[in-house]
Amino acid sequence: MSPVNVGRPTRPLDSVDASVPAPRARGLQQEEPLIFDRGGWGKSGVDFETGGEDLSAPDLAGLERAGPVELPGLSEPEALRHYVRLSQKNHAIDLALYPLGSCTMKHNPRLGEKMARLPGFIDIHPLQPQSTVQGALEVMDTLAHWLKTLTGLPAVALSPKAGAQGELCGLLAIRGAHEARGDARSTVLVPTSAHGTNPASAAQAGYQLREIAQTADGRVDLTDLAARLGPDVAAVMVTNPNTCGLFERDVVEIARLTHEAGAYFYCDGANFNAIVGRVRPADLGVDAMHINLHKTFSTPHGGGGPGAGPVVLSAALAPYAPTPWLVHDEAGLRLEEHSRGEAAASQGRICAFHGQMGMYVRALSYMFSHGSDGLRQVAEDAVLNANYIKARLSGVMSAAFPDGPCMHEALFDDAWLEGTEVTTLDFAKAMIDEGFHPMTMYFPLVVHGAMLIEPTETESRRELDRFCDALLRLAAAVRAGDVERFRQAPVHAPLRRLDETLAARRPRLRWTAPAA
C-alpha cells in the first residue's frame, strides 16, 4: 500500500483552465480558493521555541516517515483572510432569523463562550488527580441538579456526546433493565414522524424497529400503539413535543399503555425548549429522555457540532447508566470511572473521559443566567413566536395541522403550492434571496412537502414580522405565477444551486493535485 499524499501541483498554479468559469468577487464577497490551490508548500505560520533541542535524529527505530506530510501552510495574515472570507459565505443566527425546525437555532450568549474559556475549565486534563478538579466536578454536579429538577427524573447520565448518543445510551439502559430481569426484548416502537436518529439508535442498540401510525391530527395513534405493544416490545420512543410541533395530548395514556406492556417510555427531548420550566417530563410518565444542550440550553451549533446529549433516567433505569458516575463521598465529589461498586450494573463507557465539559459550562452559564423564571419564559416565548408565525402565514400557506395551537414550531405542507409548479425546495431556495435561512424541508416525512419553521424565543417581534412579510411577498409571487424566480433561486447567494447528483455520482471528497 503506497502512502496517500495530497501531492503538490504539477501544473503551474497560474495557468488558467478556460473551461472553468472565472471566480467572481461581488462587493464584500471575496472569492477564496482552497488552501491547496494557493501554494504555501513548505510554509509555516507557527514559530517554535526549539532552543537547545536536537531535532535532527529521532529515536524511532525506522518508523519515522520519509518526509513531512504534504500539506501547505499559511502565515497568520493569510490564514485570517482565508477563514474570514470563507466565513462570509455562511448564514448564521447572528445575521438573521434561522428558522430550521427541530434544530432550535436560538441566540448563543457570548457569556458561555467566555466562561468555557476560563483556564480553570479549558486547560484542565480529564485524568488529573480528582482532588485537583473539584470545581469541574462541581460544574457537572450542578448541571445534573438543574437537569434533574427541570425534568423531575432522579438520575442523569451526562456523558453522551450528542442527542443521538443520548438516545443510544437511554436504550442501552433499557436493555440493561430488561436483561437484569431475564426478560430480553427485541423491539422498539417508533412513530413514522420520528427523527432519523431514533430508528438508527434503536438499530445500533440491537433492536428491531416497528413503526406506530399517526392520527389525522398529527399525534400517536393510541389504537395502533395498543395493538403493536406486546411482550417483545422493550421501549416506545416518542418525541414530545413531536416533530410536527405538536404536544402529544395523550402522552400520559401512551406512558400507561407502555408500562402496562412491561416496556419503557423513551422520550426524544430534542424539543424540550417548548416546555422547559412549564412541564416536567417525569409527570408525563417518561422513563428516559435525552436533552440536546446544543438546542434547549443554547450551546452553539458551530456549523455541525459539537453538542451534548445528557439523558435523564428513572430510578429503575439509573443503575444501568454509563460510566463515569459522579458520586459524593467524604473527600468531596468523585468520579467512579469503572463498572464496579455502586456502578456495578452500568452499561459501561460510551466515550472516553467524562463527556462534553466545554458544553456543560456553556449550558450551566445559560441556566444560571435564565434561572427558573427565565427558563419558563423561554418556553412561553418560543411557543408564542411559533404560533404568531403560524397565525400570520396561515391565510396564505397551508398549515399541516390548522386546528389548535402548535408548540415551538409551525408546520406547513405544500398543498398551497399545488398547481403552481413551485415546490417546497424552490420556495425554500427563494427565501435565501430574501436574506433568510430556509426552514427545515421535507421533514417530518409524514407531511407532504413539509416546511417546518422554528423561530425560537430569541427573535424580536420586528424580526418575526420581517420574516413573515418576506414569506408573504414570496407567496404572492407564487400566486402571480412568477415560477422562474423560484426555479432559479437563489441568485443572490455566493453560489447558485449546487449539483448534488453530480457530487454523489462521482464523489470527490478531497483535493488532489491537478494533472500536468
Binding site: P21, V46, G73, S87, T132, R349
Partner: protein, 448 residues
Amino acid sequence: MRYQPLMPADRAQMLAVIGVDHVDDLFVDVPPVARLAGPVDLPAHASELAVERALGRMAGRNRVAGSGPFFCGAGAYRHHVPASVDHLIQRSEFLTSYTPYQPEIAQGTLQVLFEFQTQVAALLGLPVANASMYDGSTACAEAVLMAARVTRRRKTVLSGGLHPHYGATTHTLAHSAGIEVHRLAAAVDAEAAVIAAIDADTACVVVQTPNVFGSVTDVTAIAEAAHAAGALLVVVTTEAVSLGLLKSPGEMGADIAVAEGQSIGNGLNFGGPYVGLFACTEKLLRQAPGRLCGETVDAEGRRGFVLTLSTREQHIRRDKATSNICTNSGLCALAFSIHMSLLGGAGLATLARLNHARARRTRDALAAIPGVEILTPRFFNEFAVRLPRPAAEVVEALARWDVLAGVPFSRLDPAAGLDDLLLVCATETTTAEDIEALTEALSAEIAA
C-alpha cells in the same frame, strides 16, 4: 431578561393576532396534571456579573494544567494553540451556523470541511476521510461496527495496547450490535500478541500506535496477517501530532484509521468536546459513518461543495443507516483545520520533533532516579515508567507539591495488575524547569 427581546406589549399584541387571551391557552394540549403552576425550585435569573462570579469560583477550584509542571497525556494532550485559531472559530458565521444543509449559504463551512477531509486523509495516509466524529473513542467503535458490516463477520480483536477507554467504548457499542469483542491483555509490547488472536471469524483487529504506553509499532506485519485471514486492520492514534513524524497508518496497511484530533487546535477541556478523525480506503467508502463533504458545481458551473453520499445516513436510511451520528464535532474540526493550515506539513514535522525531543529529555531525567524503571523503549512523546510504589499514590502525593506527574495506568484499567505503572507525557509546552521539578519531587517522594 437580557436574552429575551419580547416586551409585555409585544406579547399582548401577538396573542391578539393569534386570537387567544393568555399564553396558557397555547399549552392546552398539556394534560392538566402535568402543568406546573409556577417556576420550578431553582434560583431565579442572574446578571452576567453574578454568573461570572459563580462559574469563576468553580473554575478557581481546579488546578490549571498550564500553571505548573504538568505531564499528563493518555489520550488528551496539552499543546500550544495559536491565538488566531480561537479568534477565528468565534466568528459568528462559523460559531452560530448549523450543519450545512443549504449549501448555497454554507460554502464557508463546506469548504472548510473539504479542506479538513483533505488534511485528515493526508495525515492518516488513506484516500477518504469524513467530516468528523464525536471523538477518537467513538470513531474507534464506529470503525469496528463498519468492519463487521463490510466483512459480515461478528468478532473483533482489540490489542492490549489500545487505550482502555477506547476498548471500553468499543465494547459497549459493538456488544449491543451483537459483535463479540476480544480485548487482549494490557502490555507495553501488546502488539506482539495480536497476530495469534486473528482467526477466520475475525472482522477486524484494532491496534493503536503510539499505543497507550507510548510505544510506537510497525503494524505492517499485523496488516498482512489480518488481510490474509480476510480481516481488516483498524489503526488508532490518540496523539495526532505524532502523525507529523511517524509513518502513517495507511502506509502501514490500515484499512480504516481513526484518531483523536484534539491535539491540533483544541484545548484539554477536561475531556471534551474533542474531534474524531476517520479515514478509510476507497473500497470501503459506502460503509463509512458520518457526514461527507464533496466537490461539485453550481448552476453556472462554478466549483462548490455539498454534503454528499447521504444515503448512508440516518435521516435517509433510518434503521439501516451506517451510524446514528447526526451532530458531530464541526467547530472542533474547524479549529483542527485552522491550526493544521497554520502549521503546514513543515510546521507539523517540527512540532512533532520538538515533542519527541522533550519527551526523550524527560525520559533521560527520570531514568536517572533510583527505583524508576523506563518501560517503553521507543516512543513519540509519552512513555511508561515503573515506580517502586503504586503510581496513583505517588501522583496524589506529587499533586501536593503542585506537580502533575502523569496518569497512573490503574486509573485507566484497575484490573490489569499494573498499579506501579505511570504514563508520563511531555510536549512542546514542557520546559526544562518543569522536568527539573518533576525529577526533584519524584526523587524525594520515592526516597521518602
